[in-house]
Symmetry: C2
Subunit: 373 residues, 2 copies
């Protein structure tokens, strides 16, 4: 495993624990800034880490634009001093009033949110206008994931035009989130992006021809980040990767063009039982490491003999290995999560390690759904 992960004080760590390595986090931020050609082309997603401390590292690296999915994340960003926050989520129900309250409470931050529906856009406008506030709206374009967003075409243009006419709204550009693009091969991933970006650029031109400003294209996540980062021929692109800052065993080995980005969050777990000759049971259940990946990809045990994950319950991870005899209850094992983002959200705080030992802890401040708003 990476030599930075080895902790000389591991015997005192309560397990299971999630440990962040700020030196590696800074390295990942620097690498992404470098790949993007500077911090101005970045709008990283906070959902991966949900911590004030990493927001501050990003601000120190010159990153002024940020993206989030929840009102609590937006408030944490604003409270940490982020000047530009996109709530990359459609606002419905009480979240409209909550966004309005964020704008009132944090005048130093410019907020925007996604739109993909005329009725919801009118509701957003009505609340903002009634409160005398303005929120930026970013047109959420469905470029193939079919999760949220409106298809690229005349309907999208009409919605953007409508938003431009409604009070309390400010046209802030388009979002193109292509979470479906997970081709390991860079050329294939790039080809997929190139296939949908042409109609998006036509849409932008059509909007601008109508006098509707499109100040930005907020593009992609971590897998497609290298593609957008290199697409310097398209003006207005803001790359919005999230996972990169901590990285994980899911993305790490899969994308060769993410070389230079290193997993910066490690799980510390202990053997709790050796129930059979070839089984090792660890205290790393699905309340400590996220269960959304397939069973065999949830956890990568480090410096561990070849194994197969055969069970994962709330407080237990069961693996089978011919090398089980080397392990006894109490032994410490290091692991990478298969998916870091929901794993972080399982932890109240994370430990922070520097120079091979734990030096502090950071609250996962916006894992809650409500801060003050």
């Amino acid at each position: 495993m990476h030599p930075a992960y080895q902790l000389s004080d591991q015997a005192t760590i309560f397990s299971p624990a999630l440990v962040f390595f700020p030196a590696l986090i800074k390295q990942n931020i620097n690498r992404v800034v470098e790949m993007a050609g500077g911090p101005a082309r970045l709008r990283p997603h906070v959902k991966t880490h949900k911590t004030v401390e990493i927001v501050k590292l990003l601000l120190e690296a010159g990153v002024t634009k940020h993206k989030c999915a929840t009102i609590a994340e937006a408030e944490m960003l604003a409270h940490a001093g982020a000047p530009d926050v996109l709530i990359a989520y459609p606002l419905v129900g009480p979240n409209i009033q909550r966004a309005c309250e964020l704008i009132r409470k944090y005048p130093g931050t410019t907020f925007s949110a996604l739109i993909d529906d005329a009725t919801a856009t009118r509701a957003l406008s009505a609340t903002m206008a009634a409160a005398g506030r303005t929120i930026g709206v970013v047109l959420d374009l469905d470029v193939g994931q079919h999760r949220t967003g409106i298809a690229v075409g005349p309907g999208a243009l009409a919605l953007y035009e409508l938003a431009g006419q409604l009070p309390g709204l400010r046209l802030d550009g388009f979002q193109l989130y292509d979470g479906h693009n997970s081709q390991p091969d860079r050329a294939e991933r790039e080809q997929a992006v190139r296939a949908f970006i042409k109609p998006v650029l036509d849409l932008r031109a059509a909007a601008e021809a109508k006098g509707l400003p499109v100040p930005r294209l907020v593009c992609g996540g971590t897998p497609s980040f290298p593609v957008y980062a290199a697409m310097t021929d398209v003006p207005g692109i803001e790359c919005s990767p999230g996972t990169f800052v901590l990285h994980d065993a899911g993305y790490g080995p899969k994308y060769a063009d993410l070389a230079g980005i290193t997993p910066a969050a490690v799980l510390v777990t202990r053997v709790i039982s050796r129930p059979t000759p070839n089984r090792v049971t660890l205290d790393l259940g699905n309340k400590a490491v996220a269960a959304d990946p397939l069973l065999e990809k949830r956890v990568t045990l480090l410096d561990f003999p070849e194994y197969k994950t055969v069970g994962h319950n709330e407080e237990h991870l069961i693996v089978e290995t011919a090398g089980a005899d080397a392990y006894k209850p109490g032994d410490v094992v290091y692991a990478l999560p298969g998916h870091i983002c929901p794993t972080v959200a399982l932890h109240h705080h994370v430990l922070v390690a520097e120079g091979g030992k734990v030096v502090g802890k950071w609250d996962v401040a916006s894992r809650v759904r409500t801060l003050t708003v």
Copy 2:
């Protein structure tokens, strides 16, 4: 859906939210007490709800014996006044010292923990004896799940005998956790239990013949609960179901012999997008409802047309249905989680509803891993 779930104030609920219904929780507790033949034959597992308020409802129902998996859960139980707490988990590393500290801090509570390994048992004894404390030890018998525990046989007897000789330990009985018994058919489930209980009773007789007390057999979870509850011919059985108190869409329809136990926790979610003619996207991602069940079983939408879950990300649940046109952004939908226990742990607090509206909130107090110890 159950008429109790409908909330007249749903428009004001921040979504996604988890809502508990105390009237149904009390009904579930009463039903389980009735099935067990009284509270003395119960040792419910706290991991499902992690809330002080439900511990108090159990105490009010006469339940004095409790079970948990983490030190934080144990402390929450003790702080709430539970007189008898089994930490149903092997103690290794710093958790041994933490358990010692719990015993010091909560003299009104009797604590015990699992053992399945001689070296770990000696370590537990050494720390307890050095501190002048005593902890109960419950021999964890592997009755077929092969997750933790020691095989029923001479090795198990030898370990129990060793524990009886070591200072700082008190022999507190056996645990038989059969998480692998999930046969929907009651007769098959009962047959599976009967198959392993005979050797366990022989082991108990052998231990008692050596003068080693075996004051209890802590048996099963929720699926096998009805079997143990009815097994009144075996003295010393303590039934330790957990899920029953809140229940869910995973266990609810599967086990006919759990009739009378009603899901008492419901998710409130909203439509956030209608990206395609047959898709409805909800704000119920895997940071709000647990992802350990298979995709199609993670969530059961209530009073919703026939649908198929096609995607689940951190903040999005995507379903396909021919009835999508009836839904628009902002609409409220009620849902049952496929697995309530890890779902509760995703929430900082839960809303509490009585008489068709939200009347308060309960902290999920032991979703953290450390309270004061």
